[in-house]
């Protein structure tokens, strides 16, 4: 095995921080705690810089300060005031002011989600379930479509809690549970794949970028 160690100080720092975080697997220790707090600090600082330079400055300050009277840019004073009002949370007597900008955001987002979920997840998904229950010449497609429709109906019946799950309703709900269990098992399998992939990514960094030992 040939090693070609990196000469980049940044790669060495990154590798040592990676190993420091992995040390948690043995047990909690000061090195891990140091890495963890450093991570939180750098992340927070990064988020603030990104948000201010990429969003707040070009969408608020730049149009306000360069063309205040054009295109209704003077109205941007309102979101500026709302944004400043958020910081009233730091003052116990004035923290009620912070509810105004929160209320504004809480009006905008649900409205967007109602239409998004309504069309994207409700209408289109029902549309996608309207399938031929007999496909001439393809028994596989016929069975598949029948199972898809039956599975959906049984799952939806399981989530109907306004009536006790007894008799025919209970039996159908039970079938719905079986479909749900298959779905959860599939999700578990995919979750395992996801977690392992992330570890593979880190090991590749250590072996390739740091030690230069990875073979392709």
């Amino acid at each position: 095995m040939n090693l070609h160690l990196s000469h980049d100080i940044g790669v060495w720092i990154a590798a040592l921080l990676t190993l420091g975080i992995f040390s948690f697997l043995y047990r909690d220790n000061p090195v891990y705690k140091f890495c963890e707090h450093l991570f939180v600090g750098v992340s927070a600082g990064y988020y603030v810089v990104l948000t201010m330079i990429s969003s707040v400055y070009p969408n608020l300050f730049q149009p306000m300060f360069t063309s205040f009277m054009k295109d209704y840019h003077w109205l941007l004073v309102i979101p500026l005031i709302l944004g400043i009002m958020l910081f009233s949370r730091f003052f116990p007597r004035g923290d009620w002011l912070s509810r105004w900008p929160i209320a504004f955001v809480l009006g905008v987002y649900p409205a967007l989600r109602i239409t998004g979920f309504g069309q994207g997840d409700f209408v289109e998904q029902i549309h996608g379930t309207i399938l031929p229950l007999w496909v001439p010449g393809s028994i596989g497609a016929t069975i598949g479509n029948l199972l898809l429709v039956a599975g959906l109906v049984c799952t939806l019946i399981f989530f109907f809690f306004s009536k006790e799950h007894k008799g025919a309703l209970g039996g159908t709900a039970r079938v719905g549970i079986y479909f749900l269990m298959v779905s959860f098992g599939a999700s578990y399998g995919y979750t395992v794949m996801a977690r392992v992939s992330l570890l593979i990514g880190r090991v590749m960094f250590l072996l390739d970028d740091w030690l230069g030992a990875l073979k392709f």
Partner: protein, 210 residues
Amino acid sequence: MKREIPILITLVSGLFMLLAWFVPHPTVRSAYEGLQNWAIVVVGFTYVLGVANLLRINVRQVSRKERDWPYKIVLLAGILVTMAVGFSEGNHYTDVDSRFQWIYRTFYSPMTATMFSLLAFFIASAAFRAFRIRSVEALLLAIAAFILMLGRVPLGAAIHPAIPAAADWLMEIPQNAAKRGILIGAALGVMATGIRVILGLEKTYGGGES
């Protein structure tokens, strides 16, 4: 008035956003676009608020020498140095050779990735210690999980071609049916909750006492 004004703001902004979605008139569209820009700006300020709060809490913990206070100094240094470097570089903060990008490549990126990669170990440990097959439902879950875990990697096809075919069928038919049921149910829930929030019937966000 402290309660009524936020509810009124939510009602007006929410109803306008809902109705404007259906109205193609240019004036309404222009106002719709403007309102969304305002919301982007306000959400940006919430990020800044979050970090300001983090600073406030940790400065207090350091000044009172609470538990793990030396590590809080590391946290504060991380925030302040990153912010100072980022803001000092202005628009050049995205340049490949900028100091801000060096901080991203050296600290943020590897630590984020490593934190997430720890989960691989814990999922293996949980598979051994907590995955108990004690019922028909659990057995179904386990069988589906085994088929997927083997079917989605090349090893499954090497063992037998039926394994990836079974994984594909499982994902396209029974899994799809159940997930669609969850999607439709969740969509109904989101729509109902959204209407309740806009109408001020959900008081958890600050309509009550702070």
